[in-house]
């Protein structure tokens, strides 16, 4: 590079430097302008936005979970309650090795294999940020032992919580139901219903039974505490406090003692019983046997116990009263008789001769009476009293399926009763239209014959039959069955009664009603099919037995109870209301594989009515010996 020497020119150099200085000043001014614009943007233009961010930074909204409402029976007996207790909970986010933590915990606090299984299931179902319960209901000693060692378990904490408890356990499981942890499905539903805000902080929601159907009443309103928090999430001071409002208390129309007696009266039988006050639709007892203990479901049942319940041949989880569908059998006969009177198909005094077999005109197919040789000459009264099949075969044929469908659906057959429980089955009241739709087949006259004695396609739930019986008992005035009598709010001014308005009046002629009701009383009198049901009662019971076939009999085959496997035996029905003259209770009893309504179902009904009407607590009844022919249906 060639060396270029420049001599100093002072003036020129000063000028150059000053030019550079001016450029520098311009540069600084530019930086200043950038800062000004930015600060004005942040502090003036976008101030509100950042203000909101700063507020949400500092204010934490802490939900205060309300106490869940209690459930009481009609006399104030507690059926679902809350009690405070301690749980041991693991924060899964802070825990690296869950297994090791649990193992270490088990040296201090008992952790059973069941607890572990339950925890695993919970872990699979839960989301990331939740704390999971490893043990609940700690004893005071366990709490003390853990508290002393807590420093070893940074991710484990003891929490005081309110627990739900169902003191009656399996006796009320099918109507009270249970609550359980809120899962993702529940969450989506809450979100959809716009309820997510009120469930902030809530861990539980009603899953079945009344706990589910009255969830909005029982849950209550979540309180809010606004606290100022620092960056570490520690509350610095409270800004505002809105107290939670406890859930409403449900007062049931059910009578816990009656329920208990009904439950016990089943003995070893599976089945269902629904008892209703016909004057207002209040459900007095609601039994599905066997029940199950709802308490383990609250914090998630372990897989083993769940499998046991779910795979049991007794299907304890099935709510038979609400969802069990059975052929009504002969219990349909009083309603069929009313249909015949309504359409003037049969006069009450009109008699038919019962040779024990019925033939459709022009057919050789035999429709047999349950009693070999028949009942001889039979009118409507006798037909109900003795449960004469031949009479009702003929009546059904003469009525025709369309009239049967029309009339029976007035009593609620084939329809949901609308009781305050979810998941009700609607049974099945067959019609021509239904058969075409279901089987693409026309209706045959033989189908009608079976419907006449409550067999064939017909299916009812115990609840439906109890509702129909109650409507009959109340002279055709129907009330919607309901388990909850009153919803009591913490503010007593907001208490509300479940409506007592009748649904409708079937306007049945008083003479028709009188005939059927007298015939039903005769059922429980000597000569009837359930004579033992009312032996020695000071009141009259109007009843009707029924048998629901479990397996179909071939033509000409004779049903022999002793030869049939126990679980294939017929189901026994009994419907009744009492006192017959001024009914206060109407019920339907189903004893699965009970055989005969008169001998197995009727005694259960009798005990329930004795307690309800007389306050009589049943002694273990002497074994009722069957008398062939009279007890048989």
């Amino acid at each position: 590079m060639k060396k270029h020497v420049e001599f100093k020119n002072h003036q020129r150099e000063i000028f150059h430097f000053q030019l550079r200085l001016v450029v520098s000043i311009g540069f600084v001014l530019l930086l200043l302008a950038i800062l000004l614009v930015r600060l004005i943007y942040l502090q003036a233009v976008r101030h509100n936005y950042y203000q909101t961010l700063a507020e949400s930074n500092r204010i934490a909204i802490v939900p205060i979970v309300p106490n869940r409402g209690l459930i009481l029976d009609r006399n104030g007996v507690v059926l679902a309650r809350n009690y405070s207790g301690y749980t041991l909970e693991i924060n899964r986010n802070k825990t690296i090795d869950l297994e090791a933590t649990i193992n270490e915990l088990s040296t201090l606090v008992e952790v059973t294999p069941k607890d572990r299984k339950r925890f695993k299931k919970l872990l699979a179902e839960s989301r990331d940020f939740q704390t999971l319960v490893i043990r609940s209901r700690l004893s005071d000693e366990e709490v003390a032992r853990f508290a002393a060692q807590q420093y070893r378990f940074p991710a484990v904490e003891i929490k005081a919580r309110l627990f739900r408890d169902y003191p009656f356990g399996e006796k009320t499981a099918h109507l009270i139901g249970y609550i359980g942890r809120i899962n993702e499905t529940d969450e989506a539903l809450l979100e959809e219903g716009g309820l997510a805000a009120n469930y902030r902080g809530s861990d539980y929601i009603g899953k079945t039974g009344l706990e589910q159907s009255y969830e909005s009443d029982l849950h209550g309103t979540t309180g809010i505490e606004q606290v100022e928090v620092d960056a570490g999430g520690r509350a610095v001071r409270m800004l505002s406090h809105t107290a939670p409002v406890s859930g409403n208390t449900l007062v049931l129309s059910m009578d816990a003692k009656l329920q208990e007696i009904a439950e016990q009266s089943f003995g070893n039988y599976r089945g269902a019983l629904v008892a209703i006050d016909p004057n207002n639709g209040e459900v007095l007892a609601f039994v599905s046997k066997p029940g199950y203990d709802p308490n383990p479901f609250i914090d998630g049942i372990d897989t083993q116990s769940w499998d046991e319940l779910n795979n049991s041949p007794d299907v304890p989880l099935n709510n038979r009263a609400l969802r069990g569908q059975y052929p009504p059998g002969s219990t349909i006969k009083p309603f069929m008789a009313l249909a015949g009177l309504n359409f003037n198909t049969r006069k009450p005094e009109q008699t038919i001769s019962d040779p024990g077999v019925y033939y459709l005109p022009g057919s050789s197919r035999q429709y047999r009476d349950w009693k070999a040789g028949g009942h001889g000459s039979v009118n409507m009264f006798k037909a109900i009293q003795m449960s004469c099949d031949i009479y009702f075969y003929g009546l059904a044929t003469e009525l025709g399926i369309d009239n049967i469908f029309d009339y029976l659906s007035r009593f609620g057959f084939g329809k949901k009763t609308g009781i305050d429980l979810e998941g009700e089955s609607s049974g099945l009241l067959p019609s021509q239209e239904w058969k075409m739709k279901r089987y693409q087949q026309i209706w045959y006259p033989g189908d009608t014959v079976s419907v006449g004695i409550g067999q064939g396609y017909s299916l009812v739930t115990p609840l439906q039959l109890a509702f129909a019986t109650a409507t009959l008992a109340n002279n055709g005035v129907a009330f919607k069955p309901h388990l909850v009598k009153e919803v009591q709010s913490p503010r007593s001014s907001e208490n509300r009664f479940i409506a007592k308005e009748p649904l409708y009046d079937l306007n049945i002629g008083p003479k028709d009603l009188d005939l059927v009701s007298r015939a039903m009383v005769a059922v429980t009198q000597p000569g009837g099919t359930a004579v033992y049901a009312s032996l020695g009662t000071p009141y009259h019971i109007a009843g009707k037995t029924g048998t629901a076939q479990v397996i179909a009999m071939k033509q000409g085959e004779k049903y022999d109870e002793k030869a049939v496997d126990e679980r294939h035996r017929d189901h026994a029905w009994f419907i009744a209301f009492a006192p017959a003259e001024e009914p206060r209770i109407a019920l339907a009893v189903l004893a699965e594989n009970g055989g005969h309504g008169g001998s197995t179902a009727a005694p259960i009904a009798r005990k329930v009515m004795d307690y309800y009407l007389l306050g009589k607590i049943p002694k273990p009844l002497p074994d009722v010996k069957e008398k062939e022919g009279i007890e048989h249906d």
Binding site: M1, K3, H4, V5, E6, F7, K8, E13, H16, F17, Q18, R20, L21, S24, I25, F27, V28, L31, L32, I34, L35, L36, R38, L39, I40, L42, Q43, A44, R46, H47, Y49, Y50, Q51, L53, A54, E55, N57, R58, E228, V229, D230, A231, G232, V236
Partner: protein, 365 residues
């Protein structure tokens, strides 16, 4: 000498307008530190000690005649280089970076020394070759700049190396580096950006990326930027009031007594306060430029200009970082942030400015 004369002697080399600006900024520092330290006297008192030490050093430098100052250039630079090499070989590792040298009695951060040392050395070099400046001289001056920067960038301390690069560049610029060369350098810088990017550490890249979208990592690298921006923005026009900043007092602001102290200030004093602070800085910078304009020698002009521009750059980089214009580079807010070293470096610089202003009559020929 009378007491009055003594006083006159004492303040003879202090530039009053500059001193006024500095004093106001230092008072602001104590005020904000009290709030940032959650209304405690701990950090404000220690800062006061830093200020006293630094002001004393400033007074000493201000009284140092310029030819003595020039003589310190080479020793300081050489010492700085030796220490930087020492750091690279034996330095203490803290927070993943090797920046400190443990001298037994104290920890020394040699890169701080070079903030003064580099421009001083370059200005001295230009002064020496003033009469016969060629492109070669600019090249050698650039080498004087690049050697320490390379060592500092390796530590790694990107922020400091960039700031020293800026202060050195200002010397080159004021010394008359031709526009064409600067243009070429700019093009070269842009062209080498991808290479530079690949040489950056992961965390440095993150900081730059965070700038474009801090919400991507709101609890990680973006946290500082987001919380600082929220603090500034929520301050509004008038601010939340002294000691009432929620971001500050509820611990949401990180490093609020050091790098992010401006967020504390503007949260509590709002846009109005921010403008006043900018005005104070502008006043100090303006005074620096006046001194530069008045400076009588080549060396003093370069030195004064570089000190003034570097001070402006520090303030701008910190304020932009806190308000989310620039990535988080770890530059304190000059004269306000808590910290002894930066206070000392800055006031040493201002001491030189005062010396340049008050000794010029003696030098002028």
């Amino acid at each position: 000498m009378t007491r009055r004369q003594l006083w006159q002697r004492f303040i003879a080399h202090l530039d009053r307008p500059l001193l006024l600006g500095i004093a106001l900024l230092l008072l602001t520092s104590l005020l904000v530190l009290y709030s940032a330290d959650n209304a405690s006297w701990g950090q404000p008192l220690r800062q006061m000690l830093n200020i006293v030490v630094a002001l004393t050093c400033m007074w000493l430098i201000a009284n140092l005649p310029l030819h003595y100052l020039m003589r310190t250039a080479v020793p300081i630079y050489v010492l700085g280089m030796v220490l930087l090499v020492g750091v690279a070989l034996f330095g203490e590792i803290s927070h993943g970076a090797r920046r400190w040298l443990n001298l037994g009695v104290m920890n020394l951060q040699p890169s701080e020394l070079m903030k003064i040392g580099v421009p001083l050395m370059m200005a001295w070099y230009f002064e020496k070759h003033e009469a016969t400046l060629t492109l070669k001289n600019y090249f050698i001056a650039s080498l004087l700049l690049i050697m320490p920067i390379a060592l500092i960038a390796r530590q790694p301390d990107l922020g400091t190396s960039l700031l020293i690069l800026a202060s050195g560049f200002y010397v080159l610029f004021l010394a008359g580096l031709s526009w064409r060369v600067m243009g070429v350098l700019l093009v070269a810088a842009i062209a080498s950006a991808p290479v530079m990017w690949s040489m950056l550490h992961e965390y440095q890249r993150h900081r730059i990326l965070m700038l474009f979208d801090p919400s991507q990592d709101a609890l990680g690298n973006g946290y500082h930027t987001i919380q600082a921006t929220i603090a500034v923005g929520s301050g509004g026009i008038l601010g939340k009031g002294y000691l009432n900043g929620t971001q500050t007092h509820l611990d949401f602001l990180p490093e609020r007594t050091t790098d992010f102290i401006f967020a504390v200030y503007s949260e509590e004093f709002g846009l109005l306060g921010s403008l006043m602070l900018l005005a104070l800085y502008s006043f100090v910078i303006w005074r620096g430029f006046v001194i530069t304009g008045n400076a009588s020698t080549y060396f003093t002009r370069l030195m004064a200009g570089s000190i003034t521009l570097t001070f402006a750059t520090y303030a701008f980089v910190n304020l932009s970082m806190v308000s989310g214009i620039l990535p988080v580079v770890g530059v304190p807010l000059p004269l306000i942030s808590y910290g002894g070293t930066s206070m000392l470096t800055l006031l040493l610089g201002f001491g030189m400015l005062m010396s340049i202003e008050t000794h010029k009559k003696l030098v002028k020929t």
